[in-house]
Amino acid sequence: MRKVYFDHSATTPVDPAVAEEMLKYLTEHYGNPSSIHAFGREARKAVEKARQQVATAIGASSVGEISFAGTGTEADNMAIRGVAYANRQKGNHIITSAAEHSAVLNCCKQLEREGFTVTVLPLDKYGRVTAQQVADAITDKTILITIMHANNEIGTIMPIREISEVARARKIIFHTDAVQSVGKIPVNVDELGVDLLTLSGHKIYGPKGIGAMYIRKGTFWQPILFGGGQERRRRPGTENVAGIVGLGKAIELATQNMHVEAERLAKYRDRIFKEVMEKIPNTILTGHPEQRLPGHVSFCFRFIEGESMLLMLDMKGIAISSGSACTSGSLEPSHVLTAIGLTKEVAHGSLRLTMGRINTEEDVEYFLEALPPIIERLRAMSPLGEGCNPCACSTCTIHDEDHHDHGELSEDEY
């Protein structure tokens, strides 16, 4: 059976050239970068080379602005908590968006428990916030704005530059989570105008377990972990040398091939959108149709549930993901899908397909053939359907007792 991996926003395979680089630093050059002897110096050289590779890729003016971290999530925590605590004499207000990854949202929620105030900006139907919304939310207590560059679930790209202009004018530190955008679309810290930016290795054909934080020189920040003097005391702990080497190589390769690859994947993306929207009725394209990541396709199919779709596609060898409650491990469907105004019922029918280097036109064709019968089969099995409001079914026994507005579901239900 054909195997098609369409889940590159979840993770990517490690590029063989990256793996080859890394291997040397596991078996041969195993020294601790903090050691002064030749073994240590060899490892140090590799770490600093990777730092330069990251700095070059994102347009940082100095290597000293790059710190490696354990994961993208850890880098987000470092950026947000580090700024929050270093600046709490100035204020306690943080602005973020409803689109953020849980690494940012839950970090902000924790800060709220610790006495900070957090404004979570609502999204438009495409999943964006505007610079005006940010400007309106700023108070004299605002110390940090954290808005993601591109969304993992719906692929939408945020107007980071416009937001950074607002942040800069008001002298507020601005962080962007660029985990999904680095290596896929241009990411330059000066062009974006950000003070902090975070990224991850395994989304760009590097290894899992490595992330990085960019912090502009002069940004008021303090560490969140305490220990040795590694990473200029920003992130203590012996460096994951192989992981760092892998991230360096991966980001270099990803940025080198970015434009050609983006064009190729965008073509696949637009073909899938066009054909699926034409062939399958009651389908909603989620996220922005154009202002989105090149290899990112996301839909909601009405009347059916995401996990069932995922399982059936999996049986055809196609790996995708969904924002339904059943796939998130909670009872709630994706917070991003409900934040763009979809009802929970519709959000349960979400499907995300993220393409990458290993995908071909044949993969796209295979998917386009496999999908419609699966949707049809699940819809035939579903009690929901066009003209059949679940609440209006004569046989429905449950809706009599817990009635709600037809169609529009309130946020606090269940």
């Binding site: 491990g329 035939a380 449950i398």
Partner: protein, 123 residues
């Protein structure tokens, strides 16, 4: 994460559909939770002669619906009322813990369909 039995019932669900002029029909669940199950019955001489389901939900929701129809078919009304959600899950050789609450409603749907049948009988 699912047992072979669950995957079998998900891949080849038994008794999918809706009986026209059913003697009893029941629906449980809520679209906002991501699970709705609807069961329709045909009853003759107090025995479930035909049973069909329609389900909106995840793999576990489909599999439990399919399983409950298989368990109830040919049973007397009293026997069918004894079927519990737990028994359905056991017949499927278990469900992931997270699915025990949200997607294990098939016996409730069966019960709702039987109650609807009984109500019609008494009317």
């Amino acid at each position: 994460m699912y047992t072979e039995k669950v995957m079998d019932h998900f891949t080849n669900p038994r008794n999918v559909g809706e009986i026209e002029n059913a003697d009893g029909a029941g629906q449980v669940g809520n679209p906002s939770c991501g699970d709705i199950m609807k069961i329709t019955l045909k009853v003759e001489d107090n025995i479930i002669k035909d049973i069909k389901f329609k389900t909106f939900g995840c793999g576990a929701a489909v599999a439990t619906s399919s399983m409950v129809t298989e368990m109830a078919l040919g049973k007397t009304i009293d026997e069918a009322l004894q079927i519990t959600n737990k028994a359905v899950a056991e017949a499927l050789e278990g469900l992931p813990p997270a699915k025990m609450h949200c997607s294990n409603l098939a016996a409730d749907a069966l019960k709702a369909a039987i109650e609807d049948y009984q109500k019609k009988q008494n009317a």
